[in-house]
């Protein structure tokens, strides 16, 4: 107690002021996204002060919500399936590798580890996925190639190895098979670790645009973020139309400005739900990131 009192309150106040300033750098852009999407008079430029409040952009989006709902549905579906699928595949894999007396342990560990050192690159992957497996323009392209992740496997294996050996022994003496030990003892005991890894993976799937841009041409299979990216590119289309004389400058400027509001409204619609969900999962998230630093 005595020691605590010696702490200067001035230091703590300065520290808090510093962090409040840092946090403003994070909160300000979020507010900016929202206010731009609500601004009815974009002539003044972007600001966190709304001059003319309007919900027009949102009305426009929700008047024809099919596209964005479709993208939400697709993204949610593949994110869930890919996350749970990869957790299953990886825990089975990691369970086997966590057994020190498993005969093929070394060779399989090497096969796994080597993928972290060397990869064929995007083009050979493209050839295999699109030309050989024909996964392009199907929802499976989001799921199958991401089922295995070497780093996560290694993290899980390390976690499994850290579980008390006595549990396994006891189950074996009771006559439980390896499969039973894996699915009914080890995996349930590892739920916190699985939740952390799974949540990180889910975020990764939810936010991806890259796979869509390479493999998907069918607009019905666009991921949410890719749809958002397409909206950014919409501006270039208007500019091109203007240059080709299909739009006069005044119309084009107007169209660009209303498009701008619309695009930011789209960004809010696309980012919003995740931002509401995330504080609740932040604990798992922080754990997942530091789990990776446990050495295998």
């Amino acid at each position: 107690m005595k020691l605590r009192k010696r702490k200067s309150p001035v230091g703590q106040i300065l520290l808090n002021i510093f962090f409040i300033l840092v946090c403003i750098c994070y909160v300000y852009p979020m507010i900016l996204l929202v206010t731009i999407s609500l601004e009815g008079d974009p002539g003044f430029g972007f600001s966190i002060i709304i001059r003319k409040f309007t919900l027009q952009a949102y009305e426009q989006i929700f008047a024809r919500p099919e596209r964005i709902l479709q993208a939400y549905g697709v993204t949610f579906f593949y994110s869930i399936v890919a996350t749970f699928g990869s957790l299953l595949v990886m825990s089975m894999f990691a369970y086997a590798l966590s057994k020190r007396d498993f005969k093929y342990r070394n060779i399989i560990t090497f096969l796994l580890f080597f993928t972290t050192l060397f990869s064929g690159g995007i083009v050979p992957s493209y050839l295999v996925n699109a030309k050989f497996l024909h996964l392009n323009d199907t929802i499976w392209i989001y799921i199958f190639p991401s089922l295995m992740n070497a780093w996560n496997c290694i993290v899980l294996r390390t976690f499994f190895q850290g579980l008390p050996e006595g549990l396994n022994e006891a189950a074996r003496i009771d006559g439980a098979s390896e499969l039973r030990i894996c699915f009914q003892i080890v995996i349930p005991l590892s739920l916190p670790a699985l939740a952390s890894i799974g949540f990180l993976a889910f975020i990764g799937h939810w936010n991806q645009w890259y796979t869509t841009s390479i493999y998907i041409r069918d607009i019905n299979l666009y991921s949410l973020q890719y749809l958002l990216k397409i909206y950014i590119d919409g501006e270039e289309q208007v500019r091109a139309m203007m240059q080709q004389g299909m739009l006069n400058e005044f119309d084009a400027q107007n169209q660009l400005k209303s498009l701008e509001t619309l695009r930011f409204a789209m960004a809010v619609v696309a980012a919003g739900p995740m931002l509401f969900v995330f504080p609740f999962f932040q604990k798992y998230f922080a754990k997942g990131l530091t789990l990776g630093s446990v050495k295998g």
Binding site: Q12, C23, I108, S119, I122, N129, E178, Y210, F278
Partner: protein, 317 residues
């Protein structure tokens, strides 16, 4: 009779043990099969596809029937200006990010650790983590909101102070700073976590002893916290050097809005191969990608070999 029975039983149990052992290994192998199939299809099969880098790919003929052209696809890259530009950008950005990640990660972790209020700690860290939950596309929107030539917040401030608006998206000289700031901003929350969790694992008696000896906050930080963090800093640096030849495509492609005018300071190997793939020049993209993978492999193996010599417990393999 009795002796016979005994030895018989022992032999049987030995056989039984062998069978059980085999069943054990097969069960575990079976658990690995889905994962092994994935590794084979999505990691090892593409390694075979690397031969496209040495061919003139004709989609109608297929990969194997396509004509061999030797190193011609590599020549294209190595004799172009693009090579110097993309390699320089990739490596310089990686080194810059390595240093800023280290500095800011440690700084924020130490400051968070010195906060006395639990609530403050939680609120601040949650807020700093926000970008980790947003896609790079949203971050690109935010950067655009700040930098847009006509409506951007930054230009409005410059103009209201009497300056002239800057066309950020056409001036390559600004982008190394812009991208570094965006990188720091987006990565701060997760970057400081490693250091912060190491600090919370520090033996508290160290600090108590220092306090009794009259050490102030700065002294405690310098003599206790920082030394505690050095192993992780070393690990992060090694991982960073291994990834020197690799960049975050989202940052360099989306945040710059793939603006051609900015390529001189924003084009990295990853964006180069990505654009080549989208443009349909598969062989060239594959050649550059292969070059990148091989250099990356040497970097990882090399740094690891050095680490194993200096401090074996920190080496990866």
């Amino acid at each position: 009779m009795i002796v016979n029975k005994k030895s018989d039983g022992r032999r049987l149990s030995l056989k039984g043990k062998q069978a059980a052992q085999r069943r054990y290994n097969l069960t575990l192998l079976a658990l690995c099969i889905p994962g092994l199939i994935c590794l084979f299809l999505f990691n090892y099969l593409p390694m075979g596809g690397i031969i496209i880098a040495f061919k003139k790919y004709a989609p109608m003929k297929g990969l194997f029937a396509s004509e061999w052209v030797g190193l011609k696809n590599f020549e294209f890259f190595f004799t172009s200006q693009d090579m110097f530009r993309t390699i320089r950008n990739t490596v310089l950005y990686s080194i810059t990010f390595l240093i800023t990640d280290l500095l800011f990660g440690v700084l924020i972790a130490v400051l968070l650790y010195n906060l006395r209020t639990k609530v403050g700690l939680k609120v601040y860290h949650t807020i700093i983590m926000i970008p980790r939950f947003m896609s790079i596309i949203i971050i690109a929107y935010i950067v655009y909101a700040l930098l847009s030539q006509q409506s951007g917040v930054l230009n409005r401030i410059i103009v209201s102070l009497g300056g002239t608006a800057i066309q950020w998206y056409t001036k390559p000289a600004y982008w190394p700073f812009i991208l570094t700031i965006v990188h720091i901003w987006a990565g701060l929350g997760s970057g400081c976590l490693y250091y912060y969790s190491a600090l919370t694992a520090t033996d508290p008696t160290l600090y108590e002893a220092a306090e009794i000896d009259g050490a102030n906050v700065l002294q405690k930080t310098w003599h206790i916290s920082i030394p505690e963090l050095i192993p992780i800093m070393v690990m992060m640096t090694i991982l960073g050097i291994g990834g020197l030849f690799n960049g975050d495509i989202g940052l360099f492609y989306q945040v710059t809005r793939n603006t051609g005018l900015l390529y001189s300071t924003t084009d990295i190997i990853n964006t180069y191969t990505y654009r080549a793939l989208l443009a349909g020049s598969l062989e060239k993209s594959a050649a550059v990608g292969l070059f990148q993978s091989v250099v990356g492999l040497f970097l990882v193996v090399g740094t690891n070999a050095i680490v194993r010599k200096i401090s074996p417990e920190n080496s990866m393999f």
